[in-house]
């Protein structure tokens, strides 16, 4: 398994990388962690003429918390994020979901920006970015722009970035202090792509749900935000019946595709069951603020 011949470029700065993308556009492909791209190249399914390897752009690997927002440089390794004390303390749903991204070896190389830009329909980070109203910064030859997660994911493996743009930062607004969280997914084996997965964040104040976030993966061409289920939760006193209602709303809102791994009906069913369990777990973890 060897890739077809390509030109290899090693920019040291974002400006250099963007200039290369401007030059090659559709003929160029950004290489970050390479955990999806390189296998495709080795099988010669992908034959990019130019590889723009951004691994030497040190300025793109960072992780910091600023004014309630988690800012991750595109080149931050998934493993670094998974082990970050900042994420463990302020956004534990990310840590829990990251543990299920492939295997440790994959996460050692795989990057946060790569996961988002690759937009795999069974990705974990994409669903959380959407649920938390996250956004990304992308730089093109003429300008830098911010894309909200809701406008980012177009379809399978496709984002609204254009071929001349480089994703440089991913931002997750942090859930409120004391919010409960849960990430749950079902895969055939550990490390496989999820057949369906759900992330939940719940904030509880004075015995009622103050904020609810539900993001799903593996149940359609893009990650799904269960907005209707979220609205049904906010303002209500928590109860098992309420979780069941939300799970029902989720089942009604998703239109998964079936394949040899799981039928559409099964994915829909699992999305509901996981939502119910995740809501329960998130609620148990929520610090109830009076």
């Amino acid at each position: 398994m060897k890739p077809a011949a390509f030109e290899y470029h090693t920019p040291r700065t974002v400006d250099e990388a963007v200039a290369l993308l401007a030059r090659y556009g559709e003929e160029g492909k950004v290489l970050a962690g390479g955990q999806s791209l390189v296998p495709l190249m080795n099988m010669r399914l992908a034959r990019p003429a130019n590889i723009i390897d951004i691994n030497r752009i040190d300025a793109l690997a960072y992780l910091r918390r600023e004014r309630g927002v988690l800012r991750l440089g595109a080149l931050t390794r998934q493993r670094a994020a998974e082990r970050s004390p900042i994420i463990a303390q302020h956004c534990p749903i990310l840590r829990d979901a990251l543990r299920l991204v492939g295997h440790a070896q994959i996460r050692n190389r795989g990057t946060v920006g790569g996961s988002i830009a690759h937009a795999d329909p069974a990705g974990e980070l994409t669903a959380i970015l959407l649920a938390l109203d996250g956004e990304v910064t992308v730089r093109g030859p003429k300008r830098t722009r911010v894309i909200a997660a809701a406008d980012l994911f177009v379809t399978y493996l496709t984002t609204s970035l254009d071929p001349h743009e480089l994703l440089i930062e991913v931002r997750f607004p942090l859930p409120p202090e004391g919010a409960g969280w849960s990430w749950m997914e079902i895969a055939r084996r550990h490390g496989d792509f999820a057949l369906a997965g759900v992330g939940v964040v719940l904030a509880v104040r004075r015995g009622r749900i103050a904020e609810a976030r539900i993001g799903l993966t593996g149940v359609g061409p893009t990650p799904v935000r269960a907005a209707q289920a979220e609205r049904g939760l906010v303002g209500q006193p928590p109860s098992t019946a309420l979780w069941a209602e939300a799970a029902e709303a989720v089942r009604g809102a998703v239109e998964p595709d079936g394949d040899i791994h799981a039928s559409a009906e099964y994915r829909k069913h699992v999305a509901g069951v996981l939502t119910l369990r995740a809501l329960q777990e998130a609620y148990e973890r929520a610090r109830k603020v009076a």
């Binding site: 791209l37 399914l45 394949d259």
Partner: protein, 147 residues
Amino acid sequence: MKIDGTNTLPASVDTVWKTINDPEALRRCTPGLKELKAISPDNYAATLQIGIAAVKGTYAGTLRITDKQAPTHYRIILEGTGGAGFMKGEGTVDLEPQGDGTLLKWVGDIQIGGLIAGVGQRMLGGIGKMLIGQFFKCLEESLGSGS
């Protein structure tokens, strides 16, 4: 792999029938179509260029329309081969009047083999459906603008 769907088109059954038999409309609306040459009536040689993310491929094949029951039914048979694998598809299209418009029902059975099937299995059905969706969306737009 079986996929199906329905589309409501803003034109009469006769108009829709003409459009889905018009090589020009097929050429304009088939996603990624580079070339469509009529070999004989209802029998075309086609070259498609389809790319999802980094996987871009060119597929050469044929497209045939058979079992015509004007103006409501036909069968469409597609075969293509490219570097990443091969594809065989067969589908039926049925039209029925719905108010001022037409309800178009399609059912397809697609077989995909070769490398691409091994790697992309979990997305192929959805992508196929998406491409067929784009085709009908384009038909819908061209019919809409004509009425």
